[in-house]
């Protein structure tokens, strides 16, 4: 078991490793790069990384450049999970056969994918990897939209959001379906560790990533990744928007251990209205009209109920 990295403060943390370079093509204000740095900086261990097709992939490995100072692979949209699982299988095989070049070092295997790659097209592959119990971490950069291809809805897109394939219009309020409960689904695989994180709560994130790396088996991390381009807010407001998401409980921070034990890891001192979160983003602008305002109340009711459900599950310990 490798030593858990000690982290003093944000300043030191943010510069404590440079395995993901600031030099990349992600949009200014994109939360992806913040999350990736937080994940990678949480450990000093060697890393073997994969990325599914998506914003992160196309913006960080444009030949002849790479933003990654750790081994990294991309195959397709759906199979970042399987790529890392294959590398992990090879690690085990070469360990058994005594052919590892650095046998005393134990790398961590991590796959990154957007919500499209995770909730939708790559779902089967992730499920397969988790069922088989590969020793890997899967991080979903959940920006609730197919941002890489220009803003189409995914099954993570929340109800009422205007996306290019579910646009708000004269007779439509946009996305009609609730966001898929990916956390519940992944926990149901019996994974040793499943957690929801947000970049603004970096200490919570680091604690969860370190717990994930310490776990034996597949770990799922759902990271809320505010998207300046598709959520339509100013690039400098990424962390402010993330604060609104976690403090309104639209994106609650919690973990599920061994598929059962649920712990809420962040309880806002002042819970703010969902209205404030929705109002800060262009994708929900149309909800603030007479025609669709009832949806904001429905949103609040849904978030309240979900918070209630999480608290009851936490108490029940089942």
């Amino acid at each position: 078991m490798s030593e858990i990295k000690k982290i003093k403060n944000l300043k030191e943390f943010s510069t404590s490793a440079d395995r993901f370079e600031g030099a990349n093509l992600l949009c200014p204000g994109c939360a992806h790069s913040i999350i990736v740095r937080e994940v990678l900086n949480a450990t000093n261990d060697d890393l073997i990384l994969a990325a599914s097709t998506g914003c992160l992939e196309v913006c960080t490995a444009v030949y002849p450049y790479t933003s990654w100072d750790a081994s990294w692979i991309h195959i397709g949209f759906e199979n970042g999970s399987s790529a890392v699982a294959g590398a992990e299988a090879m690690y085990k095989a070469l360990k058994t056969k005594g052919r590892l070049k650095q046998p005393d070092r134990v790398p961590k295997f991590v796959a990154f994918g957007g919500d499209g790659a995770t909730y939708d097209i790559g779902f089967q592959w992730i499920s397969g990897c988790f069922e088989r119990g590969h020793n890997m971490m899967y991080v979903c950069l959940d920006n609730e939209v197919y941002a890489n291809t220009g803003g189409q809805r995914s099954s993570s897109t929340p109800i009422g959001a205007s996306a290019t394939t579910t646009p708000a219009g004269r007779v439509s309020y946009g996305e009609k379906k609730n966001k898929k409960d990916m956390m519940g689904i992944m926990a149901a695989h019996g994974a040793p560790y499943v957690a929801q994180v947000a970049p603004n709560k970096w200490k919570d994130m680091v604690a969860k990533i370190q717990k994930g790396f310490a776990a034996e088996g597949p770990v799922f991390i759902n990271a809320m990744s505010a998207c300046t381009t598709e959520w339509k807010f100013a690039p400098e407001d990424t962390i402010a928007i993330s604060d609104l998401a976690t403090d309104s409980l639209v994106f609650p921070l919690y973990e599920i251990i061994n598929g059962t034990e649920l712990n809420i890891t962040y309880r806002p001192k002042n819970i703010i209205p969902v209205r404030d979160y929705l109002g800060a983003q262009g994708r929900f602008k149309h909800l603030f009209t007479k025609q669709y305002e009832y949806l904001i109340d429905e949103w609040q009711t849904r978030v309240d109920k979900e918070w209630e459900r999480l608290q009851r599950r936490e108490e029940a310990r089942v």
Binding site: D46, I48, A50, E57, V58, A61, V62, Y63, P64, T66, W68, D69, A70, S71, W72, I73, H74, I75, G76, E78, N79, S82, A83, V84, A85, G86, A87, E88, A89, M90, Y91, K92, A93, L94, T96, K97, R99, L100, K101, Q102, R105, P107, Q124, W125, S127, G128, E131, R132
Partner: protein
């Protein structure tokens, strides 16, 4: 350390067992697979070897063929020997990832037990899946019998893993006809088999923790062209000499001789059948009988389908007068794949041969000796007339009204 297995000099194996034994003997580091008829026993046999300590690599049973090849790609990039098997719809599901494997220049050996592609659903052998792979950038070697399926696996690993090649390779065998037909197979000892392929030599491996690498980058119009051209250059220049060298060494080791193009009775042939898979051996038998009747008949078996052996094939066919290209796949709106390849091969040569196309054996339909007699009879007529006297494309062994085109 995995246990070695004592084999008799000749074992009675079907094609699937022959392939499984080859994978065991080269001590593949990672096999990731999803079973599909008729290739399933390759994976089952391998699971048996794993369960009994004859294999000490990782055996990953994935959730789909796409997942299996994705896993193989990750494993190959990590730096070790990798193999899997598939057929038909499973092959079709893998196709996207096949391009990734070759584009990333990763050595992987894929045993393809050839089978029809639905609809209609059919589990039996034809070459639709093999032809579907022909633009995927993989080396494609074709077996005619279980012995070939065994031997060509060793060739495939050796060539694929060569640092001058670094391209994945498929070993094909005919579904059920080869995969489920037991024959005597001359074996190699575990030691001789492993030594022929040698220990895997990693290159740009992700698990070399001191030298991080980036696999599967994004390129657009600025670099994509150069990458694809280099990939094609390696396929067209490096592979055939490496295969030939591997064939030569294999002959020294076993006495079994393989050729890039398998020419039978072609020295003075006037008419020739070009085909693949189990049909080659049937055609060869019929050609001998035709010769007894005074028809100078020959057979050309394609051993290496990709890279296409254009020069070797042109040389073998240069003096014949009539050629039949036999395609075991529905052409779906054109002439057969082999017909097309041979047309392209001969166009700029001095060959004056006329070429016709026979579609046969779809979905496991038998190709009988009588069918081949009729084909040779057609060819003789074409050779004598110096022109095509029959339809350019016709079906053989098809029930109902005769269908022909062109």
């Amino acid at each position: 350390m995995a246990d070695t297995m004592e084999l008799r000099d000749i074992e009675v194996w079907d094609g699937n067992m022959a392939a499984s034994q080859a994978l065991r003997q080269v001590q593949v580091d990672v096999v990731a697979a999803y079973p599909i008829t008729p290739s399933t026993p390759i994976v089952e046999n391998y699971a048996g070897f794993t369960a009994n300590g004859y294999v000490d690599g990782e055996f990953v049973m994935t959730e789909s063929e796409h997942g299996a090849m994705s896993c193989c790609i990750g494993a190959a990039a990590a730096g070790g020997r990798v193999a899997t098997a598939t057929s038909s719809q499973g092959f079709a599901l893998m196709v996207e990832t096949l391009y990734s494997a070759s584009g990333m220049r990763l050595p992987i050996v894929l045993n393809v037990v050839n089978r029809a592609i639905g609809a209609p659903l059919n589990v039996n052998g034809d070459h639709s899946d093999m032809y579907m792979g022909r633009d995927s950038g993989w080396i494609q070697l074709d077996s005619y019998c279980p012995q070939n399926a065994y031997d060509l696996n060793f060739i495939a690993f050796r060539v694929s893993e060569d640092h001058d090649v670094r391209l994945p390779a498929m070993v094909h065998q005919d579904g059920f006809m080869t995969s489920h037909t037991a024959q005597g197979v001359h074996t190699l000892t575990d030691e001789a088999a492993y030594n022929f392929v040698g220990q895997y030599k990693p290159m740009n491996d992700m698990l070399d923790l001191d030298h991080p690498v980036t696999h599967g980058v994004q390129t657009e119009e600025d670099w994509h062209f150069e990458h694809k051209a280099r990939q094609q250059h390696a396929l067209m220049t490096a592979v055939l000499p490496k295969i030939q060298a591997a064939f030569d060494d294999f002959e020294k080791l076993t006495g079994r001789k393989y050729n890039i193009v398998e020419a039978y009775d072609m020295e003075d042939a006037e008419v020739a059948v070009v085909c693949m898979g189990t049909s080659v051996e049937t055609a060869r038998e019929v050609a001998e009988e035709m010769r007894a009747q005074g028809i100078k008949a020959g057979v050309v078996g394609i051993r290496v389908f990709r890279p296409w052996p254009l020069e070797q094939l042109a040389a073998v066919l240069k003096d014949v007068k009539a050629i039949a290209a036999l395609d075991r796949s529905s052409p779906h709106g054109t002439v057969g794949a082999l017909f097309n390849e041979i047309s392209g091969t001969l166009f700029n040569t001095d060959t004056k041969a006329v070429l016709t196309n026979y579609i046969y054996g779809l979905g496991g339909r038998d190709l009988t000796k009588a069918h081949l007699v009729s084909i040779y009879t057609d060819l003789k007529a074409n050779a004598d007339a110096g022109k095509v006297t029959t339809p350019l494309q016709q079906y053989i062994g098809l029930r109902g009204p005769k269908l022909s085109f062109f």
